[in-house]
């Protein structure tokens, strides 16, 4: 009987990764990361993550959690399973957002204070390159073919396309005010850039011979919400390239955009000051961080409905889900 239980629990344990993933949420104000289990949506842990944790990412093997501890001017690396602080990466001052190469190395991070994008070797823990960009670099995206890393600069209002070969800027595309976030479609054909103060998503066609081209701008409109509070920030696009989800900050909604028509089809009411988004593997669920209501909302992606909210730490900012 004991053996049977042992086998059963072993089977359960080993089966767990296929059904449940850990969701890591950075809490900007409480200086912690909250860990949520995706099968039960229960909080399993909250651990100290350094001062003002914001941008958060995970290594492709799911072993290491990378967190921009903005007020510590460093990227902290944690064991994603034991939550033990392992080491830090040099990042330059006030790191906010980064992208990881799909192999886990290097890491590209924006440094708002120095107008630089820094390329960090995650194994040697050294700086490989520093690329001067526009004023207040923020959003970071990596093209699916890994040829370009894109940075958006909030005061210069541009998307800078940086070659990952020679770390030189090859193209600049002017977008609306305060571009916050950039995201490629999975096929790499479109780059979406959200402009927080401009209140628009710039759609950039990346397949043109002559270089990336701004082809459309998507705006928002919600009855009863002042237009100025419709401030797009975090984005995720489904891998079938059909739906773009956009967090609308103080409008407390996630917009659902039909990618083919570049039209908003729905607004999903979530928590307050919705900031960043992440899919669970397989894109069954979308998690939103809600900074002013101290919770995350779980959205059923197919149904395009909010199904649950989970309390986390104070002022949740970023979110990442462990890979399968």
């Amino acid at each position: 009987m004991k053996i049977l239980t042992a086998i059963l629990s072993y089977a359960l344990l080993s089966a767990l990764p296929a059904f449940a993933n850990k969701i890591y949420v950075s809490n900007e104000k409480s200086n912690t990361v909250t860990v949520i289990q995706s099968d039960t949506w229960e909080v399993v842990k909250e651990f100290d993550a350094g001062n003002r944790p914001r941008g958060i990412g995970i290594s492709p093997d799911g072993a290491h959690l990378y967190i921009c501890a903005s007020d510590d001017d460093t990227i902290r690396v944690f064991d994603a399973h034991t939550y033990e602080a392992l080491w830090t990466l040099p990042s330059g001052p006030d790191p906010e957002l980064f992208v990881l190469h799909p192999t886990g190395n290097p890491l590209y991070v924006s440094n708002e204070d120095d107008n630089l994008v820094t390329v960090v070797d995650t194994i040697k823990r050294t700086i490989i390159a520093e690329i001067p960009v526009g004023v207040e670099p923020e959003g970071m995206a990596l093209s699916p073919d890994n040829r370009f890393v894109v940075n958006t600069s909030e005061t210069t209002n541009m998307a800078h396309f940086i070659s990952t070969d020679d770390y030189k800027i090859k193209h600049n595309v002017l977008v609306d005010q305060r571009p916050r976030y950039a995201r490629y479609s999975d096929d790499g054909s479109i780059l979406f850039v959200s402009s927080e103060i401009g209140g628009t998503i710039s759609v950039i066609d990346t397949t043109q011979q002559a270089g990336p081209k701004l082809t459309a701008k998507i705006g928002f409109q919600v009855a009863g919400v002042e237009p100025e509070w419709l401030q797009p920030v975090g984005m995720r696009v489904t891998s079938d390239n059909k739906w773009l989800f956009v967090a609308l900050g103080p409008a407390n909604r996630v917009a659902v955009i039909d990618v083919e028509k570049f039209e908003v089809v729905d607004y999903i009411l979530v928590g307050q000051r919705v900031w960043q988004l992440a899919f669970t593997p397989g894109q069954k669920y979308l998690i939103t961080t809600n900074g002013n209501s101290n919770d995350v909302t779980i959205i059923d992606v197919d149904a395009q409905k909010a199904i649950k909210s989970v309390q986390v730490g104070q002022q949740p900012w970023g979110v990442v889900v462990a890979p399968d």
Binding site: G134, H160, I169, R178, E226, E228
Partner: protein, 397 residues
């Protein structure tokens, strides 16, 4: 090998990123008026007041310009009121036709009328409501909020708190009376009641003396004694003579708003929301001091010009003016929402920060104050209220 090098350098020269296609020359002219030292040492005027904000803005403009082949340069000039015409004409002679003025309203009007449509004049700091009203000029746009906007920002907060009964204390100089009138108008607009009004006379003399607080602690309670029941004290002290003395010293324990206590400002060095921390750090790194309102206002003025140049790729003052006044223009200004311009009087729409001088306490417009165009238009003169017709004549509406 030589040929190869030659080809490479030609390519580099013709690289659109590095080629300079357009040069934009901007002037910032500051008139230094004789003035007494301020009540607080924190309000001392540094030599680079305003200009430091300009230097930061020009760096911002240049960074973007470098990617687009636009070069920005700024000439900074200080002058006395007596020599302002010479200083202004020198800028014009240098073919500078985008001019930011840090001047009082009389001088501003004199210069704006002197140049007419040959230049775009940007009013960085003058707050007189009349400049946005019957004294408006079609070639002048205003960065600084009007006294009417400032008063409305305070009133909305007071009303949100339900502090409806006001004890209004104003100074004795003409500009104090203008500010008093702005508060009277604002009280009427939003339904506050002025139950008591007193004038604090400016008798001159220095504002800071050793142990001056001892005298203040005796004078202010007596001055504010026997006022009718009020919820709040509103200080209208544009001359900076007494406003800062009021908090804690009033006869009745009441909050003070306006020129002391909770103060309406365009920006404050403690303001951190909406990405402002990075802005503050950039300013402090460059200037070695904390930012003052005039620095933010000049920064905004140059960013407005820079943004317009970048978007329409033109250096013509008239085209830039038209674009700035159009619906297409918008700029992020670290105050949570875009700043734009009122096409009826050239006034920039912007939120007003309310500070206790340590932190941001609130930002107006307050929740619930709605407007068909923009909530920002609940602050200051709205289209039907202004006597300004210069813009209408030019077809800006």
């Amino acid at each position: 090998m030589k040929l190869a090098i030659f080809v490479v350098s030609v390519l580099f020269l013709y690289n659109p990123v590095s080629a300079i296609a357009m040069e934009i020359k901007i002037g910032v002219l500051r008139i230094d008026y004789p003035a007494l030292l301020p009540i607080s040492r924190f309000d001392l005027k540094p030599d680079d007041l305003g200009f430091a904000g300009g230097v930061l803005a020009n760096k911002d403009n240049q960074t973007t310009g470098a990617f687009l082949g636009i070069e920005f340069s700024v000439t900074y000039v200080t002058t006395s009121p007596e020599e302002v015409i010479i200083a202004f004409d020198t800028l014009l002679a240098d073919k500078i036709d985008l001019i930011v003025l840090m001047a009082e309203s009389d001088d501003l009007l004199k210069l704006a009328d002197r140049v007419g449509d040959a230049a775009l004049v940007v009013n960085a700091i003058a707050r007189d409501t009349s400049l946005r009203d019957d004294q408006c000029r079609a070639n002048v746009i205003h960065i600084a909020p009007s006294q009417a906007m400032i008063a409305d920002a305070v009133t909305q907060f007071a009303m949100w708190k339900r502090w409806k009964r006001w004890f209004l204390i104003h100074g004795s100089n003409p500009k104090d009376h203008e500010l008093r009138d702005a508060y009277r108008r604002s009280a009427k607009k939003f339904g506050a009641r002025i139950v008591e009004e007193r004038e604090f006379e400016d008798i001159g003399g220095s504002r800071r003396t050793d142990t001056g607080h001892v005298l203040v602690q005796r004078q202010i309670p007596v001055f504010t004694q026997n006022a009718k029941d009020h919820d709040v004290v509103i200080a209208a002290d544009a001359s900076n003579v007494f406003g800062l003395y009021l908090p804690f010293h009033t006869w009745n324990p009441r909050p003070v708003l306006g020129s002391g206590g909770l103060r309406p400002v365009t920006f404050h060095p403690s303001h951190e929301a909406w990405g402002a921390t990075q802005y503050q750090r950039r300013f402090e790194k460059l200037s070695g001091r904390y930012l003052q309102e005039a620095d933010y206002e000049v920064w905004l003025a140059l960013r407005v010009i820079g943004e317009a140049v970048i978007r329409i790729n033109s250096s013509s003052p008239e085209k830039l003016r038209d674009y700035i006044l159009s619906d297409a223009f918008e700029l992020a200004a670290f105050k949570g929402r875009k700043v734009t311009f009122r096409s009826w009087n050239g006034q920039m729409r912007q939120p007003v920060i309310l500070t206790d001088s340590k932190i941001t306490i609130s930002v107006s417009p307050q929740e619930g104050y709605l407007h068909r165009r923009s909530a920002l238009d609940t602050l200051g003169l709205d289209e039907p209220e202004t006597a300004c017709t210069e813009f209408k004549k030019r077809g800006d509406l």
